[in-house]
């Protein structure tokens, strides 16, 4: 009985020690004594980072070539910006580049292709064209993401931000229609030219928040 009393006192003492340590510390008694013991689980904090991963959605039509265009023709192609990462995309910028030996279609500021990018407040409706491309209409309100400018301007500067673009949450997407127009005033020197334009979209994270 007295032995048990002693043990109780020890138990009270070890409880006090544990409270002070607050980290799950073993308390031992002297040799030959058994004691009560208690251990708190290890404290841990898991921190993982988000990923920003921009991919092209299945609705994208940028790779569809446009054949036999003439002055006055316009080429609309859709880019579906998919956020397949875990972080929110805050901004998307666009730049263009051309292969070696670029033609007047991309080197002339006046006669070259004119570029414009637009978004739609609802969704774009695609209409198939005989040549394999599509034209796009917006049942809502269109917004200019990049105002009309010569395509060479899109290549000559640093990537141009798509203005007015909503943030793209993980799993979300945003459709942008890119339009190229060959000026109606172009003459015969623009006949039979072939030009490939490489677009690079760069997505950056949304502003940091307290997670």
């Amino acid at each position: 009985m007295s032995h048990r009393t002693t043990v109780k006192i020890a138990a009270i003492a070890s409880g006090a020690l544990l409270a002070g340590a607050a980290a799950g510390v073993l308390v031992t008694a002297g040799p030959g004594h058994s004691v009560f013991q208690s251990q708190l689980p290890p404290a841990s904090s898991k921190v993982s980072t988000a990923s920003i991963d921009l991919t092209s959605g299945s609705a994208s039509t940028l790779t569809v070539a446009a054949d036999n265009i003439i002055p006055g023709d316009s080429i609309q192609r859709l880019m579906q910006l998919n956020n397949t990462g875990t972080g929110t995309i805050g901004n998307v910028s666009l730049s263009a580049s051309f292969a070696t030996n670029p033609t007047a279609l991309v080197t002339s500021s006046t006669g070259g292709l004119q570029f414009e990018a637009q978004t739609c407040s609802t969704s774009w409706t695609a209409t198939s064209l005989p040549g394999g491309g599509d034209s796009y209409s917006c049942s809502g309100t269109t917004s200019t993401a990049i105002a009309s400018e010569p395509i060479d301007a899109l290549a000559a500067t640093t990537p141009t931000p798509l203005s007015g673009l909503s943030t793209i949450a993980p799993g979300g997407s945003q459709d942008v229609v890119l339009t190229l127009t060959l000026p109606r005033t172009d003459g015969n020197t623009y006949q039979a030219l072939t030009q490939t334009i490489a677009y690079t979209f760069v997505a950056t994270q949304a502003a940091a928040t307290n997670a």
């Binding site: 921009l54 446009a66 003439i70």
Partner: protein, 256 residues
């Protein structure tokens, strides 16, 4: 035992440092990088062509000269206009300008605006252009002159005016011995000094855009030059070379 109690917190701190490092808010110089991702795509565009070739069915030269015309005579020349380009044409035009003008057997400079303001060396010949849309055109050589006349198996369709006058209002000459002064010609009813469209039937392409000559399409046209029977002696022994220019113009723009 106390040592063990101290190591645990140390390990936790070390772990926290390592985790922060993995967040990768990497500093570059004075600024900060952010997470980003890029996606590249290419679009290829190629421009089409519009090209016109001129030919004939009969083998007669379009440049065949016409000589010794008298009032009331006419001459016919056939031309087949083909769009050998890759895009359709919406307009086919014709223009005619005189050169090498001769008045009463004497070489004379043509007017700087011969078909508009009038050119004494360019008689008011009338020009017609016709097609045979529902049939075929058959040439017949007239004697051995190399000149041809043409027949339509169906009904002719006039595609250039009912009477377009080649030449403008004749002005009264201030000098000369060919007696122009007595001539008071009628004003021209038209001029084709500049490109004048032929009124050809239109079709629509796959996107509903109007065309008169689709890629590969052609039109067979007979041009008739007519010296009105009303002209008088003032036009004797005159000559001119008419230079015809045929032009096709691309269709309107469309979405591609």
């Amino acid at each position: 035992m106390k040592i063990g109690m101290q190591k645990k917190p140390l390990l936790l701190i070390a772990g926290a440092v390592a985790t922060v490092g993995a967040l990768a808010l990497v500093q570059t110089g004075a600024g900060y990088s952010v997470f980003s991702s890029a996606q590249a795509k290419t679009t290829t565009a190629n421009t089409g062509t519009i090209a016109l070739t001129v030919g004939t069915n009969s083998g007669a030269s379009f440049s065949q000269a016409v000589s010794a015309m008298a009032p009331g005579d006419y001459s016919e020349h056939e031309v087949i206009l083909t769009n050998t380009g890759s895009v359709g044409a919406s307009v086919v035009s014709i223009a005619a300008m005189p050169s090498n003008c001769t008045v009463a057997g004497t070489s004379t400079a043509c007017s700087s605006t011969p078909l508009v303001a009038g050119d004494v060396a360019s008689p008011p010949m009338q020009l017609f252009a016709q097609t045979c849309p529902s049939g075929t055109i058959t040439p017949s050589e007239m004697g051995t002159t190399g000149a041809y006349t043409y027949a339509c198996s169906s009904t002719w369709s006039t595609v250039l005016g009912a009477a377009v006058t080649v030449g403008g209002t004749l002005t009264t000459p201030t000098s000369g011995s060919v007696g122009y002064a007595s001539y008071t010609g009628s004003p021209a009813t038209g001029s084709i000094a500049s490109a004048t469209p032929l009124t050809l039937p239109t079709t629509t392409n796959a996107q509903g855009v109007s065309e008169v000559l689709p890629p590969g399409g052609s039109v067979d046209v007979v041009l008739t030059s007519y010296l009105p029977s009303t002209v008088d002696n003032v036009f004797q022994n005159n000559a001119t070379t008419l230079n015809y220019t045929f032009t096709i113009t691309q269709r309107a723009g469309e979405a591609k």
